[in-house]
Amino acid sequence: MELRLENVCHAYGETEVLRDITLTVPRGRIVCIVGPSGCGKSTLLRMMGGLERPDRGEVLQVGAPPQGCLNPLTYVFQDFALLPWRSVEGNVALALEDHRTGRARQAEIISDVLSRTNLTEFARALPRQLSGGMKQRVAIARALAVNPAVMLLDEPLSALDAQTRALLMDDLVGLWTRAPFTAVYVTHNLAEAVRLGHQIVVLSRRPGQIREVVEIDAPLEARDNADPALEAKREHLWTLMRDEARAADAELSHV
C-alpha cells in the first residue's frame, strides 16, 4: 500500500501551517520529513494517519493493505503513549483486543513482537519500571503487532538521550532489514534522517512547503556515520535548513 498526498493545505485559524504539499510514500521505503520547529511536520503526520483533516487537498491510500494487517496506518508517538496501568504485554494487547483475533492468536502475536524487540523478559513489567528507551521499544512492539501497512513515527527518539537514541536507531534498522516496512519518520534530527531515510523531505518554515526531496540510495544496513557521501548529504540538508531554522526561531519569539 502507498500513501499519497495531493495539494494538502492547512491553517489553524489565521495561521497557515501547510501549503500545497504533494508527496508519495512508496511501498517498503522510509520517508523522513525534516524541517524547523513549527513547520507543520507533526500536523502533516497526523493527517496521514487520519487524526486530523486537511483544510484542502487529499490524503489517499493507494492499493489494499497487506494480508493480516489489523491497522493499516499505525503511529509511534514521541511520548510513547503507553497506558501506565497496563503491563508491557497488556499495552501490546490493547492494540489487538478490538480485532477479535482469538486468544491464542493474540498471545502468539504478542510473544512474536516482544521477541523481535527484545522485550520478552519484560512482558509483565509496568511502564514506570522501564527506561525511556525500553518504553519506546514497547511502543514499537505495539505498532508491529497490528502489522501496519505504513508506520507513522512522530519524532520517536526525541525524548531519549543520545546513547539510547543510537541503540534504538540500530534496532529500527535491524527491524527494517529483516522485514522491510513502509514508514514516514518525522524528525528534526538530520543525522537520524540520513541514517534511516530512503527519501528525505525538507520542509520550509511556516507555512510548511516542500523545499527539496533528497534521495539516499545506500542500503540502510550499510550506512555508516563516517561515510563521506552521507556526510555530504547531511551537510547539504543542513544548508537547506539553516536559514529556515534561523528565520523560524526569530519568528516564534514574537508570535
Binding site: 487524526l51 491497522n71 499505525t74 508517538f77 501506565p84 490493547l94 478490538d98
Partner: protein, 265 residues
C-alpha cells in the same frame, strides 16, 4: 582547612517532603484522651464540660451488651450504603457524560454549579414530601449530597486524562466504547477515588442530619436523644461511633486505591 576563608557550603536543601511516620497519629489520640481522663479525675475539668473518657467507654460497653448498638448501627449503615452507592454511581456516570459530550456539559455544568452550594439538609422537608417520611427521604438526601461532589470530581478527573493516550487509542482504531473503558476510566480513577473520599464524608454528615430530623433508630437519633437529655457520656459514645465510621470509610478507600492504583507505585 586552616584558611578562615575555606568552609563547607551550608546545606540549604531538604524539607518539604513529608514521610510516613508510623504510630504518631495513635499517640496524638491517646495523649488527648489521657489528658481528658486525668483532667476530669483531678477535677481540673468539670464533669459538665467534658465527660470522663472511661465513662464514655463504659457507656459504649453498655450499648454493646444491651444489643442497642446494633439496633442503631444497622439502620444507619443501611441508609449510608444505599444512599452513598446511589449518589456515587449516578454521580460518576453523569460526571463521565459531562466530560465526554459537549451538549451534556453545556447543559449540566451550570445546573451542578447551582445545586452544589445548596445545603442539602435544607431540602429534607421537600424530600419527605417526594419520597415519604420513611427511608426513602433519607436515601434521597444522602444520595443527593454525595452526587454533586462526585460529579464535579469525576468530570474534572476525566478532563485531566492525558489526551495523548486517547489519541493513541483512536490511532489504533479502538472503538469509542473501548477508549472509554480502557483508557478514560482507568485514567480518571485517581481523581474519582479522591473525590469519593470527600463525598463519603459528606454522606456520613448527612446521614446524621437526616436521622436527627426524624428517625426512631440510628446513630443520629441516638445522639439527638442523648443531647436533649444532656447525657454527655452517651452523646460522646455516639460521636465516637461516627468518628470510627469515618476512619473505616477512609481506610476502605485507601485499600481500594492501593489495589486499583497499584500502577502508580
Amino acid at each position: 582547612m586552616s584558611d578562615p576563608n575555606t568552609r563547607p557550603v551550608p546545606f540549604r536543601g531538604g524539607g518539604f517532603a513529608p514521610r510516613p511516620r508510623r504510630g504518631i497519629g495513635l499517640i496524638v489520640f491517646i495523649a488527648l484522651i489521657a489528658l481528658a481522663e486525668i483532667g476530669t479525675r483531678t477535677g481540673w475539668i468539670t464533669a459538665l464540660t467534658l465527660p470522663r473518657p472511661s465513662d464514655v467507654l463504659a457507656t459504649f460497653g453498655e450499648l454493646w451488651n444491651s444489643g442497642l448498638l446494633f439496633k442503631h448501627l444497622q439502620p444507619s449503615l443501611t441508609r449510608l450504603i444505599v444512599g452513598a452507592t446511589l449518589g456515587a454511581s449516578v454521580g460518576i456516570s453523569v460526571g463521565v457524560l459531562i466530560a465526554l459530550f459537549s451538549y451534556i456539559r453545556a447543559g449540566l455544568v451550570p445546573l451542578v454549579a447551582a445545586l452544589f452550594p445548596i445545603p442539602k439538609i435544607a431540602l429534607l422537608p421537600l424530600f419527605v414530601i417526594w419520597f415519604g417520611i420513611d427511608e426513602g427521604s433519607k436515601y434521597a438526601l444522602i444520595a443527593f449530597g454525595t452526587f454533586t461532589p462526585t460529579v464535579v470530581a469525576t468530570y474534572g478527573a476525566v478532563d485531566n486524562v492525558d489526551r495523548g493516550l486517547i489519541r493513541m487509542g483512536q490511532s489504533f482504531g479502538l472503538t469509542w466504547f473501548s477508549i472509554v473503558r480502557k483508557i478514560v476510566l482507568p485514567g480518571a480513577m485517581p481523581g474519582i477515588l479522591s473525590g469519593l473520599r470527600v463525598s463519603l464524608a459528606i454522606a456520613i454528615i448527612l446521614l446524621v442530619a437526616a436521622e436527627m430530623l426524624g428517625a426512631e433508630y440510628g446513630i443520629g437519633a441516638y445522639i439527638l436523644e442523648a443531647g436533649s437529655l444532656y447525657d454527655l457520656e452517651r452523646l460522646f459514645a455516639g460521636v465516637v461511633i461516627l468518628s470510627i465510621l469515618g476512619v473505616l470509610v477512609s481506610a476502605g478507600i485507601t485499600r481500594v486505591e492501593k489495589r486499583v492504583l497499584r500502577w502508580r507505585g
